[in-house]
């Protein structure tokens, strides 16, 4: 049995799909080719100055009301002179800044700026005075010594962030946030810049390699499931106790009521 011929003189039915795909690739590729330039703007001096200018404009529009027109600070926000590009990358990149309201705790919120915009503001702040810059990517590749990182984490970080990175309470309503599923660069940045009440862990306290070890440990925690089952938030005996009373004992009471009920 021969297949009936599909040729009707018209174009192949799938031609339209193919054209669409080609068109998409063409426009996307063109965009990528041109925009790639912006991401690596610091390679040319002219592009670098354009980045700083763009950053200044963004800063004036979104940050100066609290941080001052020259980044000198005000009643509502501290000075950003000398905080470095790394601080900006952290604060803006995690959504902490712009802050919703002045206060002792900047909470993580949806990120409001694109990475290029963040880079621009970081470049402007970095131009105000020397400060911590972005580190060499080898120091946050999460390929470090997980065991050493775990030990350093327990000594330096667990008392605020909890041994499993579940977060913890600080004084007067502040808290150390949980550390799940963070970008390695942001973990590095937090250690270096000491955001808000977090202490500063300079390179003499924790070397760049040691910081990478800590990042590797956090990455290990993210990638490996809780071995015994659901982790109940990794909060320890409190959640375990609540669980056994509500589900364990509660469940067994339900069983006991069934057991002693009259059968129909």
């Amino acid at each position: 049995m021969s297949k009936p011929s599909r040729h009707t003189g018209r174009r192949h039915p799938l031609m339209g799909v193919l054209l669409l795909v080609v068109g998409l690739f063409a426009t996307g590729g063109a965009y990528a080719a041109t925009s790639a330039g912006i991401a690596h703007a610091e390679t040319t001096p002219l592009a670098a100055e354009a980045l700083v200018n763009e950053g200044e404009k963004l800063f004036m529009a979104n940050c100066a009301s609290c941080h001052g027109m020259s980044g000198e600070g005000s009643e509502a926000g501290p000075s950003v002179i000398g905080v470095g590009a790394l601080s900006v990358d952290f604060q803006v990149g995690t959504g902490r800044m712009p802050m919703a309201a002045s206060g002792p705790q900047a909470a993580v919120k949806p990120v409001q700026f694109t990475q290029p915009q963040t880079d621009a503001m970081a470049a402007w702040v970095a131009s105000l005075a020397p400060g911590p810059g972005l580190p060499d990517p080898q120091y946050y590749d999460a390929e470090g010594d997980v065991a050493n990182g775990a030990e350093l984490f327990r000594v330096n970080c667990a008392m605020c962030h909890n041994v499993a990175g579940a977060g913890g309470a600080l004084t007067e309503g502040k808290y150390a946030p949980h550390l799940r599923d963070l970008q390695p660069i942001h973990v590095y940045a937090a250690m270096v810049t000491g955001p808000q009440n977090m202490p500063v862990f300079n390179d003499m306290n924790l070397s760049p390699e040691e910081k990478n070890d800590v990042i590797s440990y956090l990455n290990y925690m993210d990638e490996n499931p809780s071995v015994g089952g659901f982790s109940l938030g990794s909060l320890g005996p409190v959640s375990e106790g609540l669980f056994i009373w509500l589900i364990g004992l509660g469940g067994l009471i339900a069983v006991a009521i069934w057991l002693t009920a009259r059968s129909n």
Partner: protein
């Protein structure tokens, strides 16, 4: 010698014949038939709240089974070794042998983690069930004569269970339980005169020493379980001798027990319940992580985790420590009195002793020396129930204080605010709970009275010929009504002089207690009143 147990009319099958032979063999050597006769058809009343003690008993059996498995793999030595197991974040880390073997059980023994989780979940359930069981006994007045001694025995079981739990969770020598031991050490050192010496001898050196885990192990697998099993045996024997209490109901009197016989119904239900308790624990242990010791790392006096709490049943002690305001310490004649430790310790001891001695207090107030085998409905003992509610609330405030930092982070509060609020609630909430509970009991009693006399609203509205609408009240059956009627009323004590013509302080005190207990009360309905209401 004939086999006196051959009793079937038809020719018995092989199985039956073997059973008959075996039973005879045993009986001729142990008088087993006497035991069967005494216990075989013993009656046990059926109420779900009577099964809480069973939950405790069965979780203890689960603890014994899972614990035995763990002892085959665990080593309590505090000798330092380098980790060479399979958990990557601890590779090469210095730790005690105890911690190392606990990790091996979790990561390198098949079923090891399961048994660890079964054991720990079961321990949490054990103490919880004991607590709820104690509350049931309290609120139903089942501690009254002749069961006062069994109440004390049960109280001892409660303390032993907590001790077993504490010694047990300290065995892995991890950071969390190690900091718990550090806290206990600090509390021991605070004791006047002998504190430092007690700590030194207990730990076998300065803290942490190299002996304490082994010593806790001996307590945990040998001494405390042996004492607990012996105490449990006394508890069960007294239960059998006194027989179980039962709730008021048709056909139930203070002089009988109504329910199912041990063989076959109660044995099937109780035996089945054991499998259900074990099964529920196993289900939880398969699906929910408990005490992930690998996250905490080995104990070291320098690191600590945010969210450091003991297991739930020690929470009330930890919370008591957290509620003390700053600066409670004084020096007298050169000696230091750390009141910030001593005051919570005394408060906790007073709380526990009050729980243990309550039956004797209530017996003194009522002067009732009869045996009581009918369990009270809590509403029919309003003051006792109010006191119980106040006690539970007091305990709950202390328990909540132990998780003050987690309450703060989860509800967006400050730790200072949470603790200050709990400090106020410490004083205010037990009183409030007492008042609300007692008034609720009295109101419920009045409602019961109404229903017993006039029936309950049926929801049917009837229009009378004269145009009135009434809601028809359904009368209760005699059986239902009896449950509402059968309780004892107590009157406040009338103060009378004794044989020497004096009114002693003791009598005055007893009279005022008695007034507090029984002045506000709802009288049970008498036969005459019931008759009258029918017309």
């Amino acid at each position: 010698m004939t086999n006196t147990l051959d009793n079937t009319a038809t020719e018995p099958g092989r199985g039956m014949r073997f059973t008959g032979w075996a039973a005879n063999y045993v009986d001729e050597r142990t008088s087993a038939s006497t035991a069967v006769k005494t216990l075989g058809r013993k009656i046990f009343p059926d109420h779900w709240s009577f099964m809480l003690g069973e939950v405790a008993l069965y979780s203890f059996v689960v603890l014994l089974i899972s614990g035995t498995f763990l002892t085959f793999f665990y080593d309590p030595s505090m000798t330092e070794v380098e980790y060479d197991g399979s958990y990557l974040p601890l590779k090469g880390i210095e730790m005690s042998v105890a911690y190392h073997t606990a990790l091996d059980i979790s990561f390198d023994v098949r079923g090891g983690l399961l048994m660890r989780q079964v054991h720990h979940w079961s321990a949490l359930l054990f103490v919880a069930a004991i607590g709820l069981h104690m509350l049931r006994v309290f609120f139903t007045g089942a501690f009254r004569k002749p069961r006062e001694l069994n109440w004390i025995v049960g109280f001892l079981l409660f303390v032993l269970a907590m001790a077993l739990g504490f010694t047990g969770y300290s065995l892995p020598d991890d950071l969390l339980s190690g900091n718990g031991l550090r806290i206990i050490d600090g509390m021991i050192k605070a004791f006047p005169v002998v504190g430092v010496w007690m700590s030194y001898l207990f730990f076998g050196d300065e803290f942490p020493g190299v002996d304490v885990i082994q010593r806790l192990y001996v307590l945990h697998i040998m001494l405390l379980p042996a004492i607990l099993i012996a105490t449990l045996a006394i508890h069960m024997v007294l239960l059998i001798v006194n027989k179980h209490t039962q709730f008021a109901g048709p056909g139930r009197t203070n002089d009988n027990v109504v329910g199912s016989p041990v063989l076959p119904v109660f044995a099937a239900k109780a035996g089945g319940f054991f499998f259900l308790v074990f099964g529920v624990i196993m289900l939880i242990a398969s699906l929910f992580t408990i005490n992930p010791i690998w996250n905490y790392g080995p104990y070291d006096p320098s690191p600590v985790s945010a969210g450091t709490q003991p297991d739930w049943y020690i929470g009330f002690a930890d919370g008591a420590l957290r509620l003390i305001p700053p600066g409670w310490e004084f020096v007298a004649f050169g000696y230091t009195w750390p009141m910030n430790i001593l005051v919570p310790t005394v408060v906790l001891i007073v709380l526990l002793v009050s729980v243990a001695l309550y039956p004797f207090f209530e017996a003194w107030v009522t002067g009732d020396k009869r045996e009581h085998h009918i369990a009270d409905r809590p509403r029919n003992a309003p003051t006792r129930t109010g006191i119980g509610a106040a006690g539970v609330t007091f305990y709950a405030v202390l328990w909540a204080a132990a998780s003050s930092d987690l309450i703060a982070t989860h509800f967006g509060l400050s730790i200072e605010g949470v603790i200050t609020t709990l400090q106020v609630l410490f004083f205010v909430s037990p009183v409030a709970a007492y008042i609300i509970t007692k008034r609720t009991c009295l109101a419920l009693q009045r409602k019961d009275r109404e229903i017993a006399l006039h029936g309950y609203e049926s929801g049917r509205i009837v229009r009378l010929p004269g145009g009135e609408y009434i809601e028809v009240h359904e009368q209760l059956s005699d059986y239902e009504r009896w449950k509402l009627l059968d309780y004892t009323e107590y009157q406040p004590l009338t103060v009378r002089p004794n044989n020497q013509g004096k009114i002693t302080v003791g009598t005055r005190l007893r009279a005022s207690m008695s007034r507090w207990f029984f002045e506000d009360r709802v009288e049970p309905i008498g036969a005459k009143e019931l008759e009258d209401s029918r017309h």
